[in-house]
Symmetry: C2
Subunit: 195 residues, 2 copies
């Protein structure tokens, strides 16, 4: 989001957006998703909170932008929910993997996972985001009971998948085709969310 449509913008705006993204990556990395605030990110970037909201919307949207995610949760979720309910799990896995197959998303996502897990701070970053903003919203939208545990279980599998494939680069999961992983792991996410 932050990297497109730069042409013609005044120089100051580009600088501010880049400073905000950079501050967001640092802040999420140090304090985790839940421990980070728009206010702290704005302070770190040397701008006003209102400007952060103006450019990037909510904290979830800013996180998506900081990850380099091309699609925001408020756009992704309707896409994932549109279609047969018994294939929601597969669509979630495909969505996350397709995002991480993009080098810039992968680079930032791995950096954030490393920063969050390697530090002494036990705050979730990507897992918190996945659990709360992506899977939690899906579980709530589909009105399952136990939505919090269900979405956290699904997040644990997706976080484990991202870790094994992109951080640890554990063969053969690291070399598998996206379609193969969607077929194998989609039913797990489906079961956690709905069965």
């Amino acid at each position: 989001m932050a990297t497109v449509r730069r042409r013609g913008r005044p120089r100051g705006e580009t600088d501010s957006r880049e400073r905000i993204i950079s501050a967001a990556v640092d802040e999420f990395g140090e304090h985790g998703y839940d421990g980070s605030t728009i206010r702290a990110i704005a302070t770190r970037a040397g701008v006003d909170s209102a400007l952060v909201h103006h450019y990037f919307g909510t904290k979830a949207d800013l996180f998506a932008a900081a990850m380099g995610m091309p699609i925001r949760p408020d756009v992704a979720i309707p896409e994932i929910l549109a279609g047969p309910r018994d294939e929601v799990g597969e669509r979630v896995v495909r969505f996350v993997l397709q995002a991480f197959e993009q080098p810039e998303v992968r680079r930032r996502g791995v950096a954030l996972m490393r920063a969050a897990i390697g530090s002494k701070l036990t705050t979730p970053v990507l897992a918190g985001f996945l659990s709360r903003e992506l899977l939690g919203r899906i579980a709530r939208a589909l009105d399952t009971d136990d939505a919090a545990l269900r979405s956290t279980l699904a997040a644990s599998q997706i976080a484990g998948l991202l870790m094994a494939r992109y951080v640890l680069k554990l063969p053969p999961i690291a070399d598998a085709e996206v379609d193969e992983l969607v077929t194998r792991i989609g039913p797990t996410v489906q079961r956690y969310l709905f069965d």
Copy 2:
């Protein structure tokens, strides 16, 4: 294993064993499970490789000792395999969680996960151990096709579970009862290994 039966041992032996364990924790943390060798650990501890083998057996056994695991893979696997085949997944999840519920195992396991993932080195530690020594051996013992991918998928779920529960402490997975998690996650591991 390394922490029992100390009584009556000559002082030098206790020192050597502790130096080896300490060197193993550092070495696995820096280079991952696959990237570590008995020879490098021995050098780091200032002892001969033969002494490491003599005290701790194989690399897998030394890893288990370094993790503080009370049961070695060569003991655990027959236990997991003894019993109905359609409950192997549940027994794996229960075995790993029961190990991590012990404070000393948890402390060392979390330290190793942090060290491996937080560093720039993209080598697997716990996931490599789980995948190769625990789940890989189970998959091979049960003669499934595709054993490598199957055991890695199962390891990704177990690594994600350990990460969510013990490193990120993501509620409500962090507060759930072991039995609840065995019921929810056991079938996933079962499906990855056999279906």
